[in-house]
């Protein structure tokens, strides 16, 4: 496993994976990342307020469990595309030293293609699940009576955003592979 010194311990530990062919963060990843950040800040405020009002005044907001769960769903699934674009997902690099640049480029293309298939599958399944929820009119058994399709919508949106980011990654992988075949010594991701 390789970790670039300037990134050691940083969230983007595997920024060493980044090269000229890696997709840059676009408005899609920026928006999803800001949604996550807003959700985290909302959690901080909500949990802090809940703890304070319960300790000092003995009453509860009564929505922290429910909204906390929804926030986590949003953070998890909206985080997929920005995590992919930001190289936040850990990778082992045990094979890298033993492969040629073309071999490494091919492996990345294969892996990203396989993960794109998984992402598309998730998108289809999540869409189906949210659609069924919407049609059934399910609501949360809480004081808010939240229509459940609403928080569940974060799942297909997140999977779709991931699919788009992965498709851009695959395009970059393809360009990297072509370059390594044309000029084998120039690219060493």
């Amino acid at each position: 496993m390789n970790v670039a010194p300037e990134h050691a311990g940083d969230p983007v530990v595997h920024a060493v994976d980044e090269d000229e062919f890696s997709p840059r963060e676009t408005w899609l990843e920026v928006v999803t990342r800001w949604v996550i950040q807003a959700a985290v800040l909302l959690l901080v405020v909500m949990m802090g307020v809940e703890m304070i009002v319960r300790s000092l005044f003995g009453w509860s907001l009564q929505v922290t469990n429910e909204l906390g769960g929804y926030a986590l769903i949003i953070i998890t699934f909206f985080g997929l595309s920005s995590g992919q674009a930001g190289h936040a997902f850990h990778r082992m690099h045990l094979l890298d030293d033993h492969l040629s640049p073309a071999g490494r480029a091919l492996l990345r293309l294969l892996f990203d293609s396989a993960t794109a298939v998984v992402a598309l599958l998730l998108f289809v399944e999540f869409t189906r699940f949210t659609w069924i929820t919407w049609r059934s009119g399910d609501v949360a058994a809480t004081v808010l009576l939240t229509p459940l399709w609403l928080p569940r919508l974060a799942m297909p949106i997140g999977a779709f955003a991931l699919s788009l980011t992965l498709l851009r990654t695959i395009v970059g992988d393809w360009r990297r592979l072509r370059r390594t075949r044309a000029r084998p010594t120039e690219v060493a991701p």
């Binding site: 990342r33 959690l43 949990m47 802090g48 769960g69 986590l72 399944e125 189906r128």
Partner: protein, 433 residues
């Protein structure tokens, strides 16, 4: 294809994808989905929506982004650096000097970060330049940092414990409490060993010629006290039942924001950077956790857990033999599978066995976390080794060899936990509800 062959192939696929460089969450998710499809075709895949919702609509897991953000505030604002400098003055007289600071600093940062990588990186970045300038032994220094960093997941709050608790329906508050005594013991074991090594081999830790003046020590206390108050407040509120771990994390975030603003250098720009970094860290952790749930669902869909349970129960191992089997299993796995991955593939299979052996789930959680700690400094994929090597820009072999004694001390802790389970269970038994 027989069911046994199917499961073996899926595990081999998981290890192969992991080792050959697929991103960890995808390397977990892909075999999980493939196995699910092999068991029930498209019908089984239709369950993915509900499983995904059911696993991630979790109040318990909401503590993870909050603890990560709290650590980012403290690290990004330079408060971590102040604490390290303060500690270096306070432990001046203890043999080992800055090496002791590394261990205590890691233990303290561990008590707010919940992550071993964050702990090793935060203290490593601050410590290594100073250790090099003062001619400390590179190998030993790297060892203290890589091993000290692993305290991040044993000292509460711990992300690994939150994930374990969510998977097994075990109280996270109790797991946090159970980690305190073993965490302190391990810290002390590291410190005692470092002190003895420094006494017998003074060359590894050259002592400063002058002791710090009283004023410097007072200033060091000012640096450290808010940090200690933050740790005490988090643990105190959870222990006393005033707050759940998630609420304590939220309040801890607000408090760390204040500390970082007034004692550190937290600007708006750095605040935004902290948010950005934490968003990326959290996306990785939560994606691994989510993938783990899908993997676990595919195993339970196929009834693998029951089969493994009946197979191991059929071996008629006694408790000690079972523990030794765990030791071998996790030591081997630790060399090849990263931390949360180890929880993913083992806990759903082993957890049903605990009842048969009369093993407390909280105790088992702590033992699993210690095994994971060992995995984080076990080559070839121990991540803390690479974090410290990257910061030091030295040889990986030096870091690996430097951690060997600390690895052995972790075995000592495991033996203590096996002999005296109350080391982990006494404190949680007194958690207020």
């Amino acid at each position: 294809m027989t069911p046994e062959l199917q499961i073996i192939l899926v595990f081999l696929l998981f290890l192969a994808l992991l080792a050959s460089g697929m991103a960890v969450p995808f390397a977990i998710l892909l075999p999980g989905i493939v196995y699910l499809w092999m068991q029930g075709g498209m019908g089984a895949l239709h369950g993915l929506g509900l499983v995904s919702w059911g696993s991630m609509d979790s109040y318990t897991l909401t503590a993870i982004p909050l603890f990560v953000l709290m650590a980012e505030f403290l690290q990004g604002s330079g408060v971590g650096l102040r604490v390290y400098r303060g500690l270096s003055k306070l432990v001046y007289k203890v043999p080992g000097g800055l090496l002791q600071t590394n261990i205590v600093g890691c233990a303290m940062f561990a008590a707010v970060s919940g992550s071993s990588i964050a702990t090793a990186a935060a203290i490593g970045k601050v410590a290594l330049p100073q250790l090099t300038a003062r001619h400390y032994d590179k190998r030993f220094a790297s060892g203290t940092l890589a091993a000290g960093g692993t305290l991040g997941i044993l000292m509460p709050p711990s992300i690994a414990m939150i994930v374990y608790g969510t998977f097994t329906d075990t109280s996270v508050a109790k797991l946090f409490m159970a980690g305190v005594v073993p965490g302190v013991i391990l810290t002390l074991l590291f410190m005692v060993y470092t002190a003895l090594a420094a006494i017998y081999r003074p060359g590894i830790a050259p002592r400063d010629a002058e002791s710090p003046p009283a004023r410097a020590i007072l200033s060091a206390l000012v640096d450290i006290v808010p940090f200690v108050v933050l740790i005490a407040a988090i643990m105190g509120t959870i222990y006393s039942g005033i707050a759940t771990p998630t609420e304590a994390a939220g309040a801890g975030c607000l408090f760390s924001l204040l500390i970082s603003r007034f004692l550190g250098t937290l600007t708006w720009r750095e605040f935004a950077q902290c948010l950005r970094r934490s968003a990326l860290v959290v996306s990785n952790i939560l994606f691994i956790t989510y993938a783990a749930f899908v993997f676990s669902y595919s195993m339970s869909f196929a009834g693998v857990g029951e089969e493994v349970t009946s197979f191991i129960v059929g071996l008629h191992l006694n408790k000690l033999q079972f523990f030794v089997a765990l030791l071998i299993l996790y030591t081997v796995l630790g060399a090849f599978v990263e931390s949360l991955g180890m929880i993913v593939i083992t806990v759903p299979l082993l957890f049903p066995l605990l009842g048969a052996y009369g093993i407390d789930p909280v105790w088992f959680g702590i033992v699993v976390v210690v095994f994971i700690e060992m995995g984080q400094i076990t080559p070839p994929i121990g991540i803390n080794l690479f974090v410290i090597q990257s910061i030091s820009r030295g040889k990986l072999a030096d870091v690996v060899l430097g951690t060997v004694p600390f690895h052995l001390l972790m075995f000592v802790l495991l033996a203590m936990l096996a002999l005296w389970p109350q080391l982990a269970l006494w404190l949680p038994a007194h958690v207020s509800h």
